[in-house]
């Protein structure tokens, strides 16, 4: 046994000395391990049970907020979507709304509908990607193949709209970058209908699967009170029985003109947390169909901005419901073309606080089920 314990005060940064215990073993899960993404979880286990978990993010920290201070409001667009390229429309949405507030620009009606459709399609694309990972880490390789394949449908659709498969940079202050193709409405409706038919089949193979239920039900239970206290958001919050969806509570663009329903489950376990995104996809299909119906058939899609727009001296905080939860953007402007300070308050970072809370007392084998059910995207949390 190592008896000498060097006082922590003398320790240089980066080094840690621990008392070695007979019972407790420390494991580093990640950052290279595919089961964690770019996140290290320092797990202490007693036998098979987790007694302590300490998430260590930051391996993909790129300083998006610092970068934003030296670029103007337009050149900020491509790099601010980088934290979640699979959900690039939704992560850019609060920023674009905030800049519109600051610059004082109206968005054409048609552009608002196009934005909602693009955002909902992108939500489905993100959730499909996440579902594929969730499936493969629970040992269900069909659930990896199906979402990854069906996702291509919507990616092709987004490619037709925006010209890029994943990193769209489609939303700009004042509207969207370019108009949708001529036969877009028919193609979109057909693809979305087929997509909805496909994802309904997931219930049979995945969500009603007794093996999956046995693995995920009653693991990592987050009570309603704790979900609120920890400030979680999105699917984590709604799986714990809190009815809070920003598309309904604080509708932006044209969400108040559409009939949007939110999905709430009460059990708060990993199963509920993994089912909410799937229900969200079904709801997204409904929203897209409504938006396609109500969308003006012609009209402007963008209000033109001045070449180097300056925001007025003010600050805004805008938020939207992204594929993972609330995505907020706090912009402080000082009348310059660049933001003085830009803060992204993203859902992955907010949900991370629940991870050590949920993992304590779980078996180590349940860690992937709990961790991935948080709908966590490491790159988004690190920004």
């Amino acid at each position: 046994m190592a008896e000498q314990v060097i006082p922590t005060k003398k320790m240089p940064p980066g080094l840690q000395v621990e008392n070695v215990d007979d019972r407790i073993m420390t494991l580093n899960v990640g950052p290279q391990h595919p089961g964690s993404g770019h996140l290290r979880i320092i797990v202490k286990i007693d036998g098979d049970y987790i007694v302590d978990a300490d998430p260590d993010p930051g391996y993909v920290h790129r300083g998006e907020e610092k970068m934003a201070e030296s670029r103007n409001y337009i050149t900020n667009i491509p790099h601010l979507e980088r934290p979640v390229i699979h959900d690039s429309c939704n992560i850019l949405y609060p920023y674009v709304l905030g800049v519109e507030d600051l610059v004082g620009i109206e968005v054409p009606e048609r552009a608002k509908y196009v934005r909602v459709i693009a955002a909902e399609l992108n939500r489905c694309i993100y959730i499909q990607y996440w579902l594929a990972i969730y499936g493969i880490f629970l040992g269900h390789s069909t659930m990896f193949m199906w979402p990854a394949g069906d996702r291509e449908l919507l990616i092709d659709l987004m490619e037709k709209i925006t010209g890029a498969r994943v990193t769209h940079a489609y939303f700009i202050p004042g509207g969207v970058r370019n108009d949708v193709p001529a036969n877009f409405e028919d193609v979109c409706l057909r693809q979305v209908n087929y997509f909805e038919k496909r994802i309904k089949e997931y219930a049979d193979i995945f969500y009603d699967n007794p093996i999956l239920k046995a693995r995920t039900e009653d693991t990592g239970v987050l009570s309603r009170e704790d979900a609120i206290r920890l400030g979680t958001t999105g699917s984590v919050l709604r799986a714990s029985g809190v009815d809070y969806d920003l598309r309904i509570k604080e509708p932006y663009d044209v969400y108040d003109e559409l009939d949007v329903h939110t999905n709430v489950l009460k059990s708060g376990d990993s199963y509920a947390r993994s089912k909410i995104p799937w229900l969200d996809m079904l709801e997204s299909c409904n929203i897209i169909r409504q938006a396609l119906e109500k969308m003006p058939k012609s009209g402007s899609i963008r209000t033109k901005l001045k070449p180097n727009p300056k925001g007025r001296e003010d600050e805004v905080y805008r938020r939207v419901e992204s594929g993972r939860g609330s995505a907020g953007c706090h912009i402080i402007s000082r009348g310059k073309p660049e933001p003085y300070r830009l803060k992204l308050s993203v859902s992955s970072f907010r949900n991370l606080i629940a991870l050590p809370y949920l993992l304590k007392g779980e078996k180590l084998g349940n860690m992937p089920a709990v961790y991935w059910s948080l709908n966590y995207w490491p790159v988004e949390a690190d920004r």
Binding site: I6, V17, M67, Y244, Y317, S345
Partner: protein
């Protein structure tokens, strides 16, 4: 028996040769020396290059906002009893100034938002200044000494139950760092649109020594548990130490980061 004795003696000799403690001390000493070097380099480069740039930016803008910091500084040094007497006449000026710019908006101030902001400001007259009242968005500026009491009041009397985001902002011209808590409510449907910004400012030091200088603020973790990771992020990014926060380790930056806190304005991006 002889074999075992031999083994024992050889192990002891090994321990003498490779004394773990001595090696550990050497590593620590080397690492500390390297860290000090890095810190000195950072200080040297900063004082030569970056500071003048910041100074240049001063006069261009920010005239209206300077009024707030000027009030706070003298107050800190004076005893508490004197504060309200002196602060009242001073704070009335900034309060009156923003509405005068937007006379039309003053009439159409949203009532619901005004009602609960008035609750806070009437409870802490002199210490709380209304930043803005817009539709669904409100802001109160609080002195750093009163932040705990105001947060406790908000938690007890208003349905705000979680922190949406915590922003740290550097104001080198005012020699202050601002911290803005955005509070939201899940439990009360009437408040679900509201975001209350609870803002405060702490003194900023030219040569920061995060954790050991005057840039300190009491942590709100006891009232709003959800600020835990946000406050850790602000400590590493801006050097604001949160007292009574149980866990002030680095979160996103590498553990051996020895440069300035990167979100301060005098930390410059390379090539920009």
């Amino acid at each position: 028996m002889s074999k075992s004795e031999k083994k024992v003696t050889s192990k002891d000799e090994d321990k003498k040769k490779f004394d773990e403690k001595a090696i550990g001390d050497a590593i620590i000493a080397a690492a500390n020396a390297r860290r000090e070097e890095l810190a000195k380099e950072a200080l040297a480069t900063r004082s030569n290059k970056t500071l003048p740039k910041v100074v240049k930016e001063k006069p261009k803008e920010e005239k209206p906002k300077e009024s707030k910091p000027k009030e706070e500084k003298p107050k800190e040094s004076k005893p508490k009893e004197e504060k309200p007497k002196e602060s009242k006449p001073k704070e009335e000026k900034p309060k009156a100034a923003p509405p005068s710019k937007t006379d039309t908006e003053e009439v159409s101030l949203p009532e619901f938002e005004k009602s609960f902001v008035d609750k806070i400001s009437s409870q802490f007259t002199g210490d709380v200044e209304v930043g803005y009242i817009k539709e669904n968005r409100t802001r109160v500026n609080v002195k750093k000494e009163k932040i705990l009491e105001v947060a406790q009041f908000i938690k007890d009397n208003l349905p705000f139950d979680h922190a949406e985001s915590v922003t740290g902002v550097d104001f080198p011209e005012d020699k202050e760092i601002g911290v803005v808590y955005h509070l939201g409510s899940y439990t009360d449907p009437t408040y679900s649109k509201q975001v209350l910004a609870l803002a405060t400012r702490v003194p900023r030091e030219e040569n920061p020594n995060p954790g050991n200088d005057s840039t300190k603020l009491p942590s709100l973790r006891d009232m709003f548990y959800s600020v835990e990771f946000h406050e850790r992020e602000i400590f590493e990014m801006l050097g604001v130490y949160f007292e009574s926060h149980p866990d002030n380790r680095r979160l996103l930056l590498p553990e051996d980061w020895a440069d300035l806190p990167p979100l301060r304005k005098d930390f410059r991006n390379k090539g920009r």
